[in-house]
């Protein structure tokens, strides 16, 4: 892809991120952080692409470590967010 479309994507995503995230109430800021952190684990896609090109032991070590770190981020991040969100409950018959 050319450079310009990538920059456009980047700028527009920042705007979308700003719009969407300002609507998250402070009650959910911790799940927001861990959930968005899990999303930043998307770099796992990059890690998979580099492993598949890797030749030689050092190249494989670097790229497999990248996969491990990104997977911890993805799996751990989504699961702990789910665990937290499961705890948020409304009061029953009150208010």
């Amino acid at each position: 892809m050319d450079l310009l479309p990538l920059i456009i994507i980047f700028a527009l995503s920042l705007f979308i991120g700003y719009e969407v995230i300002t609507k998250v109430p402070s009650t959910l800021h911790t799940p927001l952080m861990s959930g968005s952190n899990a999303i930043s684990g998307i770099v796992i896609v990059g890690a998979i692409i580099i492993v598949s090109n890797a030749n030689g032991i050092l190249a494989i070590i670097i790229s497999v470590i990248a996969i491990i770190l990104a997977t911890i981020n993805v799996v751990g991040g989504f699961m702990v967010t789910d665990r937290m969100l499961a705890m948020f409950k409304r009061s029953k018959n009150r208010d």
């Binding site: 969407v20 800021h29 959930g35 930043s40 580099i50 911890i72 981020n73 702990v80 948020f88």
Partner: protein, 466 residues
């Protein structure tokens, strides 16, 4: 390797990115949030699957090994960590994300696909490497502080602001050299990595415990932006979109945190508060406070109609969230109205208190933020402060010479009476005496918060039985 065209690949990535956005949007309400998180994880899953199908013609076994190891570690970490330790966990996940982005960028320069790397890709590599490495070590230091392996008080080394500025200038300098094709070399990259790793350590180590929410939010943002940088390196739009969403999220949270402290980011990083001189001029005077025992406290609570609990980090330390819920339930059964006042920077990360109280089954609609609750203190018969300090200090409204002057605080002093649960008379993180404690309407209940609350609950039960 399956024959998947770039178009199909990019359409799948577009679906993933859309699911991330919808997922984040659903975080706007606790009722839809869990579903949103699951949609986002579905988006991640399809992105991973299409990438493996398209790109993997060799080293498939290595990908599986990496995913299995990382997945198991992720499951173990997320399942067994206690809710009080969530800030540490998020810190370390941030670090891993930053590390992964840095490694992807570094790999591209160690093993370039083309003989000449364009200036732009070099810049993206430098950018991701710097932010990713800095996030990695910074997050580990934050983790160490939150886990109390490293002292949580600010560690101030001499000339630190000069050293840090010099370090950042060096990083910028080498980053520029790195981008100029004729000067660019692996040695420059190694210098850049070393300097960035060091910068992460030196920037976070002087940060005190109460400033952690800002730093965690900032590192969260960096890990996202580093990922977006890796997207520019690999020409991959889904990385750019997701990375910038996370970057924006972290920046917004950082801004909310520093606003809630009435400080600037520079002030937090340069360590204006809680540093050496703050604590000295505060504790000289010996002023009298009123104290009371659990029986008296139970009596006051037992006859109150409106009660507001004000939790702070001390609640997390004492692990007293379940005890509060028990006390609150007894009071509710007597017809008392209960609310919780949550300051944005209470705890060690944004929203920390909300998660702790949710864990104890406290309904989220009773948790009120600063703007919602401040007008209600006037009607409160009793405000019970549990392990919160600086965020309740009325001096922030009245004394322009105070370091916390102007910080938005919870108007606990407006309640008809105040009970403060406290371990000792030590001042808060900012090293300032809390004027709230010396008011006529305030009584202090000394002791471990968990024990005190348990005893109060028992006493109130006894009151009912009479």
């Amino acid at each position: 390797m399956l024959e998947i065209s770039s178009n199909i690949e990019n359409i799948v990535y577009l679906i993933s990115a859309s699911l991330f956005i919808i997922g984040l949007k659903r975080l706007a309400s606790p009722t839809t949030a869990r579903n949103g998180n699951r949609l986002a994880s579905l988006g991640m899953l399809i992105a991973i699957i299409v990438t493996i199908l398209k790109y993997t013609d060799n080293n498939f076994e290595w990908i599986i090994i990496g995913i299995v190891i990382g997945g198991l570690l992720g499951i173990i970490l997320s399942k067994y960590v206690q809710m009080t330790a969530i800030p540490q966990l998020v810190a370390i996940f941030n670090g891993f994300g930053g590390g992964a982005s840095a490694l992807v960028a570094i790999y591209e320069i160690l093993y370039p696909k083309e003989s000449v790397i364009s200036i732009f890709v070099l810049a993206a590599i430098a950018f991701s490497t710097i932010l990713g490495s800095l996030t990695l070590t910074g997050s580990f230091i934050a983790f160490g502080k939150l886990q109390e392996i490293i002292p949580t008080r600010p560690i101030l080394f001499p000339l630190r602001n000069y050293l840090n500025s010099l370090l950042l200038l060096l990083i910028v300098f080498f980053a520029i050299i790195m981008v100029i094709p004729n000067f660019s070399s692996l040695n420059i990259l190694y210098i850049l990595i070393a300097l960035s790793l060091l910068a992460g350590i030196l920037i976070v180590i002087p940060i005190g415990g109460a400033d952690m929410p800002v730093i965690i939010a900032l590192l969260n943002s960096y890990s996202g932006i580093a990922g977006a940088g890796a997207g520019f390196v690999l020409n991959n739009p889904v990385l750019i979109i997701s990375g910038s969403l996370v970057g924006a999220s972290g920046l917004i949270l950082t801004r909310i945190m520093i606003k809630a402290m009435n400080r600037s980011l520079a002030n937090v990083i340069l360590g204006g508060l809680g540093s050496d001189d703050g604590s000295q001029h505060a504790t000289n005077e010996n002023r009298l406070v009123k104290s009371l025992n659990t029986e008296d406290a139970a009596m006051i609570l037992g006859y109150a109609e409106n009660v507001i609990f004000v939790p702070g980090y001390g609640l997390a330390v004492a692990q007293a969230q379940h005890q509060i819920n028990e006390l609150a339930n007894i009071l509710k059964d007597n017809g008392t109205k209960i609310k919780y006042a949550i300051h944005p920077v209470a705890g060690r990360m944004p929203g920390h208190m909300n998660v702790l109280l949710a864990e104890a089954n406290i309904p989220y609609n009773e948790l009120k933020d600063l703007d919602e609750i401040n007008s209600e203190f006037d009607n409160a018969d009793v405000a019970v402060v549990i392990g919160a300090n600086d965020v309740t200090n009325p001096i922030a409204r009245t004394d322009p010479s105070s370091p916390i002057y102007g910080m938005p605080i919870l108007n606990v002093d407006k309640a008809k009476s105040v009970i403060v649960l406290k371990r000792s008379m030590a001042s808060g993180f900012a090293g300032i005496e809390n004027e709230l404690f010396f008011l006529d309407k305030t009584s202090l209940l000394f002791g471990d918060a968990k024990d005190s609350i348990e005893e109060m609950t028992r006493e109130i039960k006894n009151l009912d039985n009479i």
